[in-house]
């Protein structure tokens, strides 16, 4: 059985929660909600609709747990990335870089982070981002702009290529 948008939902949950376990809870919650309300879905873009639900679930969870939000980027990720590569040295370098980029994204304010993730990782159009985040397109554009500026400058400051 295929859940075609599960990966997108999982990714957004991870980026919003910045914690794997919390992201999994949010994912479960969102998928159950989506199933419950699926009959009432009348739009044309089920992916944007599902991610809107994920986002709601994540925001409620963040609101509930405010103050005990966990630290981004765990050490396990690095190990995962290295394994299976032929050139361990290059892989280590790459994974360090990837971790730093990830940390930079994770450090972005949540509204910039979600906009950037939807655009760059899910390749959402502005219209779909506007739908998923329930934000006007103009705001989507300026958030994307700020997110990318912050990221590019932080990366330059860290000496990333």
């Amino acid at each position: 059985m295929v859940l075609p948008h599960l990966d997108a939902a999982y990714n957004l949950a991870r980026w919003l929660m910045r914690d794997t376990a919390a992201a999994e809870d949010v994912l479960q919650e969102a998928m159950v909600r989506a199933l419950t309300y699926f009959a009432s879905f009348k739009g044309v873009n089920p992916r944007a609709w599902l991610l809107q639900i994920v986002r709601h679930a994540a925001y409620s969870s963040i609101a509930l747990n405010r103050g005990i939000e966990t630290v981004p980027v765990d050490g396990d990720d690095a190990a995962e990335l290295i394994s299976g590569d032929d050139d361990p040295e290059a892989a280590l370098l790459r994974s360090r870089e990837a971790c730093r980029v990830r940390a930079l994204i994770a450090a972005l304010p949540v509204e910039l982070r979600e906009t950037l993730v939807l655009r760059e990782f899910e390749e959402f159009s502005y219209k779909d981002i506007a739908e998923a985040t329930q934000t006007p397109i103009g705001t989507v554009m300026s958030r994307l702009w700020r997110a990318r500026q912050l990221l590019a400058r932080a990366a330059a400051a860290e000496g990333l290529p």
């Binding site: 059985m1 295929v2 990714n11 479960q28 990837a98 959402f124 502005y126 702009w145 990318r148 590019a152």
Partner: protein, 253 residues
């Protein structure tokens, strides 16, 4: 926000949100605007960083947990469904209908696919647009070694370019196109009197894939992937010929 109100357009271009006319007018502006060129450089840099990030798929055990939760949650649907079905006087035998509808909703949800024909329709629309006079090729050449370098710097990937003149599909040129919010390469081929457009862009990302081919508004569309690229061929040639064209590509070294 920097001092030029066009920077968001620079960004929109990078995101594939501008049409050809807007892109052309931006191009003219950017030539004389250092702020926009600086912005462009930063945007490209940010994108390169992000695109190097691996896309994480859902771990199998998480997927399994979700499936298990969904199976548990299924019965929750029934009461809501019954209420609705009881209002449906058209279905007097509503007992069965409620359950059937619940099952259908679950199935539809589990099987709901990205609108598969979406891309195919965009491909056909792109093809028809390109057939308007003067829109077909940005670079006119039957030489793959001219067409391929032409794409350098215009796309964030290097599309494979091949000429199959010996097999009856001569290359005529190439152009940039926009599909699903991204810039893609379009290669133009001739088959007798017919034009074949071949759209190419890297695999990955959420663009839905269509296995095999389809027909829309009389145009045949064939899709395949190879070497990490999506290929979509569209033309009004007969389907077998388009399939031959696809086979040539797939067998190409």
């Amino acid at each position: 926000m920097p001092d030029c109100d066009k920077v968001l357009l620079v960004q929109a271009e990078l995101d594939g949100e501008l049409d050809a006319a807007q892109a052309a007018s931006l191009e003219a502006h950017r030539a004389g605007c250092p702020i926009c060129r600086q912005a462009q450089a930063e945007l490209v840099r940010a994108r390169a960083l992000l695109r190097a990030e691996p896309y994480e798929t859902t771990p199998d055990e998480v997927r399994a947990q979700v499936m298990a939760r969904l199976r548990l949650a299924e019965p929750r649907l029934e009461p809501a469904r019954r209420q609705r079905s009881s209002r449906r006087w058209l279905f007097p035998a509503a007992g069965g209908f409620g359950f059937g509808a619940a099952c259908a909703a679950v199935l539809a949800f589990l099987l709901v696919l990205p609108p598969r024909d979406d891309v195919a329709e965009q491909i056909v629309a792109g093809h028809i647009r390109a057939l308007q006079p003067g829109h077909l090729e940005d670079v006119v050449s039957t030489d793959q070694h001219t067409v391929k370098p032409w794409f350098d710097g215009k796309l964030d990937f290097a599309p494979p370019v091949r000429d199959f003149a010996a097999d009856g599909f001569p290359l005529k040129g190439g152009r940039l196109d926009y599909l699903g919010g991204r810039a893609v390469a379009a290669l133009v081929y001739q088959r007798d009197k017919h034009v074949i457009d071949l759209f190419v862009w890297p695999e990955g990302g959420p663009l839905p894939r269509l296995a095999g081919g389809t027909q829309i508004q009389g145009y045949n569309v064939v899709h395949w992937t190879a070497g990490g690229m999506n290929f979509w061929a569209v033309s009004d040639v007969e389907r077998p010929q388009l399939d031959d064209f696809a086979t040539l590509w797939r067998k190409a070294p």
